[in-house]
Symmetry: C2
Subunit: 398 residues, 2 copies
Amino acid sequence: MTWVTGADGSPYGVTNLPYGVFRSNGGQPRIGVRIGSWVFDLAGAEAADLVLAAGALCRPTLNDFMALGRPQWTSVRQRITELLTDPAHRAAVEPLLVPLAEVELLLPFEVADYVDFYSSEHHASNVGQIFRPGQPPLLPNWKHLPIGYHGRAGTVVVSGTPVIRPTGQRASAEGPVTGPSVRLDIEAEVGFVVGVPSGLGDRVSVDDFADHVFGVVLVNDWSARDIQAWEYQPLGPFLGKSFATSVSAWVTPLDALADAFVPAPDQDPPVVDYLRDVPHLGLDLRLAVEWNGEQVSEPPFGTMYWTPAQQLAHLTVNGASLRTGDLYASGTVSGPDRSQVGSFLELTWGGAEPVKLGDETRTFLADGDTVIITATAPGPDGTTIALGEVTGTVRPAR
Amino acid sequence: MTWVTGADGSPYGVTNLPYGVFRSNGGQPRIGVRIGSWVFDLAGAEAADLVLAAGALCRPTLNDFMALGRPQWTSVRQRITELLTDPAHRAAVEPLLVPLAEVELLLPFEVADYVDFYSSEHHASNVGQIFRPGQPPLLPNWKHLPIGYHGRAGTVVVSGTPVIRPTGQRASAEGPVTGPSVRLDIEAEVGFVVGVPSGLGDRVSVDDFADHVFGVVLVNDWSARDIQAWEYQPLGPFLGKSFATSVSAWVTPLDALADAFVPAPDQDPPVVDYLRDVPHLGLDLRLAVEWNGEQVSEPPFGTMYWTPAQQLAHLTVNGASLRTGDLYASGTVSGPDRSQVGSFLELTWGGAEPVKLGDETRTFLADGDTVIITATAPGPDGTTIALGEVTGTVRPAR
């Protein structure tokens, strides 16, 4: 129970407490935590000695705080919970609550490297069937390692940032043409944010996931399918992805997701040693994709074949170091049914089966379209918590 | 003519002046410029008002200086030249010259995003012949756009950093096995360092290359061919590359390379508009690869099919923004002859034709091997300047 007005019973109650960075009245960026429809100004709280984090909460991004490590993450969260539940603190804390409606939310952390995986078996199979009909839907390596690649960290943007339709080359019967993408798509994903770094040459074990990963964001990895199809062989996606990747303004700490861990799908064939996680746990995050106000899909994150701990172990098995602010995303989350897919490529089966949105039909994104990805997760005692939404509106090509 | 002892006539004379970051006696990182076998301490020079750069030379990396832009880059270079040539300044400057042998050289800039291209027609053709014998060596997109992908910025290391042999999965007749890479290779490349950023949604024209790019580094993009071969489909190279990418400690400013621009190879078919650079210029950089003290190859950068201006225009045609510290590398530099290739994959033709090094033979890298990549370029008045070398020694897998 919190004394904050309206927060109890909301999906942003005191068991959630995601972190973000906000600005009010054009001021400096400040770290805050969301409670109900308020932002608790943690910079102000640390300045007033209400919470102690070695000054890390008085910085313009979460990076310094995320670098502190799990014991500090947990103790700061405990202290914030105490401040928001014990009425004795109300007088000191209430002046530090800012209405959410009055703040601008900023990119919550400085992104170091951005890696994107491809860990949904349903998504990979759908893409295989659409692009390589009549062939085995999964490539031979897919069940042996979590396929991934590096994306562009510098174009990771916060939820709400407009997405300008990218220009680029695509194939045509008359050879390549250059112009605005005509197959602009989304990818609904879940991203994991690294707090504690690792050294060059070190490997992070599947068992050490929670020592390194601070929390979770929702991700929309906007994708220009026509640009991607023409460019991607043999070195993978490049300009078809690098124009924008949106993340939620709120980072949900792993501590808030303790009740959301569930057994992940069995893996057959068995995986090699460094990928063997016992217990083998995914996260029961229930995503929803809204396209111009209509819900078109409910991707179930719990169906992902590769777990976040396996992804982290794979990412570092070659000795690649981690930095604070590294972001790795799951890849498109798609369940077994058409109503559970995380991309419009799948929803419209390569554009062959348009969907109806109100009075209009769509295959891919039109200028002016807005996509909102949300998610909920089980919280303690049968409650439900919400992850921060990720939204974006498509602007015409320049 | 410089008054600095021994610098005239050396490949690091006063027409070269590459920038780096050094540390002496365990002190703080300082920006310096190389002259002969000395480092001119620019942090000390700016602190003494001998050169003015808004404090950017008193920082621990080149990033703030690189962000200032070409007019400031040129005026600072002119001032440094004046200080090192006019004997009137000798008394003030000489105490700021530190013997190169007494300093530790550090990574000269903080890497924002790292992109790797694939722009040598000879290299791409060789790789195609080795991996897809009997098929057309180039894929259909190759002559229409500079193929590229994002690499891991966090594992870009300075020349001299040991390279730990990566562990990972590779294919075998019995299925995938995990272990130290058995086909560890180099890629001799040239990297371009972005100083001036661009906005999200903006495109950088081929004509604006010199407004954004500060200078050039040599790059060794270490590659584990066995890991890469198993993982790379369909999303491109990942762990086969992300364990280490070495760059030279010295960034050669574009201003030092004014005499090195030469016509690039003709492009047929003609390229699309945004890639049309007039004049179409490459750089006459002559690389050399030394393996355990023996020179094994001389890759000619002037033979590259895609120019650095075309690469930059392509990288941003979709509106992807540039940040100060972005690094984009050319891809492996290979000329038409076996004696001009930039990888051991090509030198040994996929490992089928071992090379003799002293009393030993090699296909790929053995533990303890050292590779040094050097390069020279034409300077003014028939002189030759050197780029900073990039070196690395292979350490056993952990």
